[in-house]
Amino acid sequence: MANVDYSIVRGAERAVATNKVLKNTYLLLSATLAFSAVMAAVSMALALPSWMYLVSVIGAILMGMFVLPRTANSSAGIGVIFGITGLLGLGLGSILTAYLALPKGPEIIATAFGGTGLIFLGLSGYALTAKRDFSFLGGFVFAGMMVVLIAVVANLFLQMPALSLAISAAIILLMSAFILFDTSRIVNGGETNYIMATYGLYLSIFNIFISLLQILGIMSGDD
């Protein structure tokens, strides 16, 4: 009777499942980013006011907290994630309209876009090839997230430019760590739901882009 090493078979099955999650995550991420870009273009064409950004962020947070976790294991989750990313795209469009009105606006937007792409591709490539499990970052990133949230709430009312700059810098570092953490969890089988994985990576990219826009806007002397 053939002596089958089931640990190898199970390992191969796990690798196939992980690759499937990874492939589906990047496909859905590409689609949601493209959809967001279309919605941002629609928002810019309609010249939506800048308060639309706050409305879209509130809507997206509520959907992300209450609707997405309940639908992520069904096909309805796809519709919900497109709803969230479309909403954030609409809000982003209103911010971009405001930046385009600045003298160096188009340059700032292009630089932030390129920088976000470089950061995401670089960190994802690193996490995929490093053969390291970055899930030890869990406690650190969630603690950092809570500190940043408290600072964001405080600055909603204090409106201090220096604190705003510090928050943006902290968000870029924190979201960079989240990219390592999320990608590593997909690769190592810690995240098996590609909708939730896409949501995590999308939020990291979105937050890095918004924070870079703010930092470049302030530092260029235009904001």
Binding site: L54, I119, G122, L123, F134, G139, L212
Partner: protein
């Protein structure tokens, strides 16, 4: 309008803090601990991110 939205966002962000708390506790208590060399493997790419942001700032100034 803006003040109302700011208050609404603040309430939702505080709510999010309460949502995040159990996740934070879980990762703090049950998450894997860093092994030797793990933090260096994180600090290096994050330092490169900082360098890139500084470069981008220099580009738009």
């Amino acid at each position: 309008m803006s003040l109302f939205l700011q208050i609404a966002l603040a309430v939702i962000l505080v709510m999010m803090l309460f949502f995040l708390w159990p996740t934070f506790k879980h990762w703090q208590e049950h998450g894997p601990k860093a092994k030797a060399g793990d933090w260096q493997a994180v600090i290096l790419p994050l330092a490169l991110v900082v360098g890139l942001v500084v470069l981008l700032i220099a580009l738009v100034r």
